[in-house]
Amino acid sequence: MHMSVSNIYPKLTERGDPLGDPWCGSPTQADFAAVEPSGRARLLAHLAQDVRAAVVRTISAAKFGHIGGDLSVADILTCLMFGVLRHRPEDPGWPDRDRLILSKGHSAVSLYAVLSMAGYFPPRDLTRFVQALSPLGAHPSRSVPGVETNTGALGHGLPFGVGCAIAARLSRSVRRVFVVLGDGELQEGSNWEAAMAAGHRGLGNLVAVVDRNGLQQGASTETTNRLEPLLERWRSFGWEATEVDGHDHQTLVEVLSLQPGERPRCVVARTIKGKGVSFIERRIEWHHKVPSKEQMEQALAELRK
């Protein structure tokens, strides 16, 4: 028996301030499962906009953050957290939880936003982002509930994920491992060491999601150190590789929920850096620029549309 989105997520257009207290906008996993299938993508779309709003507010308040990548990865993380992962926010150490590893650690604010909305910690804690002695640092660490490993230096998530996938196999657990990678990050050789090992071992319980926004800190990936043909590269390492629209919630959930096969799977999610805010989209300088108060208001207005 399914319910409509509006039952679960009332007043979608007038929902509360994500940083307010209390903020009751988030559905539980059970809620999500209870929504009729056609409504799930719509629900995820709303949630992703909330994540973006939280990102804009958090970075503006902290006067620090990597906003472009946070906004490009927001749909991927929202779909994983609310539509794909088997996890227990009330029990972050549950041994059979699916593992979510944010290898592109500079998108920490998006991760913190989805973790808080899923119930790992109160959303109001986002106001403590990069404040002195806060667990919510510029890059994720295990001092934050729901974070599996400390990232920030690039090229660390996939090797770690390979270890998680081997551990799951050794433990005969059906848990899955999702590693979210930046595209520029793929210039780090450690990823390809890990890709080779995962392909060799046929780690079907491992999924790599590439936030393919095409831009790294200083320029496009293709003018800096070319990644294409990216799908062929993953395939040549023994992976299944698919390209999807990284802002299409229904497709993301479908492809990320596929039954594990005999090979690891790479999902190259085509995204727009800065997605959702017109003056940030596709702009190199917004890799880690901070919005002014006026820009924050304009961004939030666009996200509310």
């Binding site: 041994p95 593992r99 660490s141 295990r142 599996e148 490993t149 400390n150 990232t151 920030g152 230096a153 090229g155 660390h156 996939l158 090797p159 770690f160 994920g161 390979v162 270890g163 998680c164 996938a165 081997i166 551990a167 799951a168 050794l170 433990s171 050789g189 450690s190 060491e193 890990a194 080779m196 090992a197 060799h200």
Partner: protein, 314 residues
Amino acid sequence: MSAVMRDERFDCRVAFAEELAVIARGDQRVVVVCNDSIGSSNLATFAQEFPDRTVNVGIAEQDMVGVAAGLANGGYTPFVCAAGAFLTGRALEQIKDDIAYSGYHVVLCGMSPGLSYGEVGPTHHSIEDVAWLRAISGLAIVVPADPVETRGAMRWAAGTESPSYLRIGRFRVPAVLPETYRFELGRAVELRHGSSLTIVASGVMVHRALEAADELQRRGILARVLNVSTLKPIDTDALVRAAEETGRVVTVEESVIDGGLGSAVAQVLCEQHPVPMRILGVPQFAPTGNASFLLDHFGLNAAGIVRAALELFP
């Protein structure tokens, strides 16, 4: 505790392989992660007995250490076994971020450390490992002196919750510790009592320090010998007591003099009880030569220790 030097010489990798199997039989969580180093890490019998628990990632040290952290995330206790030079140099950032900073219980085993690769050359010598890793918080560093201490350190490392780096020696050494010796992290062991000088040694250099003490005794100098196998956390009390009671310290190690055992001892003593010191170690990249030649070449032998000690008695 007094030393039990015998003529027989041991490759600590043999004790390592035996102990690893014993630990793994008693603890299902123990796994091995290695980099095509089954042979050089003496893991063939382990791999035969525990094929599923032997993860050989190939020649890929960054992946190897990251995979180990991921296995620890899944509740396993990985022993990462690789030549010390490549484990620590190639994967230094993974050791820092994935293991130490993330706080995962992984036992890093630097095989064939120091100059033991001899004529294979400086690319394979692991003389910087201790200096590099001392800079990383939360990582215990142990340089066992002989097979007995190797086994003890491994048992400790498997049973604790925090990460560690163990040097597993290849250069053949005599047993210096009795079979009854019980390894304790951070505890230096006095192998010979003395009142006029202390020789602080680790690993391969411990038995050479004992030989030097014999020679010094013939010259009327009673040297204390401290086996400081735990470089981090270092035994501050034993070092300060030795400085107070003997007034002179010579340190000797099979690693670079910048940032190793000597630096660690000097760091303690200059704050708490400064005494005249000599720091012996490897001063530069080694020329061609086997390990035994190289140790002698750099004065890392009884004669070199005696020479340094006598400089402290003007």
